[in-house]
Symmetry: C2
Subunit: 360 residues, 2 copies
Amino acid sequence: MTPYEVKGKVDYSRLLEQFGVQPVTPDLLARIRKPHRLLRTGYFFAHRDFDKILDYYDEHGTFAVVSGRGPSEHMHLAHLLLYMFNLYLQQEFNAYVFVPFSDDEKFFFKDQLELGDVRRYSVENALDMIALGFDPSKTEFFFDTAHMNPKMYSMAVEMSRKVNFSTVRAVYGFAPETNIGLLFYPALQAMHILYPEVERSLPVVVPIAIDQDPHVRVSRDVAAKMGLFKPATLESKFMKGLSGEAKMSASEQETSIFTTDKPEAAAVKVMNAFTGGRATVEEQKVLGGIPEVCPVYEYQHLFFFDDAKSEKLYKDCTGGKILCGECKGNLARYVKSFLAEHQKRREEARHKLDMFIMKH
Amino acid sequence: MTPYEVKGKVDYSRLLEQFGVQPVTPDLLARIRKPHRLLRTGYFFAHRDFDKILDYYDEHGTFAVVSGRGPSEHMHLAHLLLYMFNLYLQQEFNAYVFVPFSDDEKFFFKDQLELGDVRRYSVENALDMIALGFDPSKTEFFFDTAHMNPKMYSMAVEMSRKVNFSTVRAVYGFAPETNIGLLFYPALQAMHILYPEVERSLPVVVPIAIDQDPHVRVSRDVAAKMGLFKPATLESKFMKGLSGEAKMSASEQETSIFTTDKPEAAAVKVMNAFTGGRATVEEQKVLGGIPEVCPVYEYQHLFFFDDAKSEKLYKDCTGGKILCGECKGNLARYVKSFLAEHQKRREEARHKLDMFIMKH
């Protein structure tokens, strides 16, 4: 597994050990007045130094969240889930949220993309975030190629001297054919992640899917070399794709629900989803379904339900009381209604975009 | 020899062959109304595609010159000589002159430099250029870390996708320990060199010392991949240091004359110079001196003399008519008087700097 590829089944407890990250424990959650469902249910299951962020919060009543977006496509629901969590951090902890759009990285990484493409997706993705309800006085967007300025560039320049080829080769698996843009990108990422500390003196937490941990480790090394607070992380599992694969991927159009999908089309994707059902109705009524492997359960659980509803569905499924057709029909309705409402808000967001762009 | 190191004696005819560049021939010079002394005397002895630049000039009456400066120190006379030549190109060919200051590269390359240092030297070096008399309506300066903007950064991003690690490793001799800033720099250099063509549709010639040829070759490859005119070059020999070494180097303070040296101190450096003299006065009167190895001859020849004076000194030296003490005394006077005048002009240049900075 590299930051650029996640395939197959994922053993999360092994990752915990392999990456040397801390588990999110009941003790940690007890320090939070209203822990988010994604924390309580173990979706964010690991962290680095988030306890130190809470220490800072206890004293200062705020911290910074950095949550970058690689704009190679429209956002899908797993992406949106992350920004829903960021919004919670902003609202619950009075957090400043910085969103760098690494259009440059996506351009370096995908030969078929032109700068016009990644810039267009930056705007489209930003609309999804604004639609969620971020507070423009505490949220800043920065599109690398569209907004680069001396302050941000100089920060990347300073950080790039702290990272050498050996390191990026080891962390990212770069090869001789790798273009020099991609080789430089870890410096830009470190700049993104450390910007709130350098410019606003706020310690940073980076909520990420765990496959992005190596990125943050490079930035933590840079921070240490510069005498800065090492950015903390909250690390999540992956949200399944509709075909049941480990991680919803924007490159697999048919198994991801995009925020811009027509609601009816998204409903069709749901109805075609893989489920945790059994071979026959009879078998399922006796043995029950398997929600652990089921994206249809997961979407409802993570995205649409509170604890009580989620627990009820789990019991009904494992008890054989609800069958997959009905369950998919429910999710399809939730998705349709969510998308209709979200798409209205994201169009309204177009005229608000400028309020969120970093002012030099 | 790499772009970062020139030591020992240099065999220029071997370099011509090794780099695959064209010699500056009498036929080429015959196309120029008033060839500069540095062209006529063989200091600029090689080129790539400069004939094509002359073709363009014949039709359009202009072209672009890109002449970057790595601001790690004050400028010395060999640096200044290059910009005197650039000024000639501007005046003789109505050329647009673009001067990118690669403060970032110097920062990547020299661990002991801070950003504040390279930015200060950028300004100091710019003053030297302005003092020479460049026309602000046809000259643009760009300091990488102080002036980076979306247009220039995006250009570098586009170009970085055309260059991979193998190439920069082969051309620059980069190692695993090389920081990722330096790995990325060739993309910035390509952006610098190709900017006049991309933004002003002007073909570019880059006057350089021949050790910088690999830099330009990378940019030529990028240009070819982007369907642009491949930047031409005019390639010079090195100006000797005062100790007689092949290339005056700013890192050897005592053997270089800096534009900011106190005139008296510069005169002392001249009086301590290595010369092409013989072991004894008697021997020299019989055998004559050896101007070919003598920096004291070279400075007068390249910097202060016209053809007639230069020829006379050559004859007087090889004929044993002038001895090294007298000759050094002459050069010391020229240097003192030049520096006094230049330093006055470069102080006057301070309030003109803003006229030369790229406006977005």
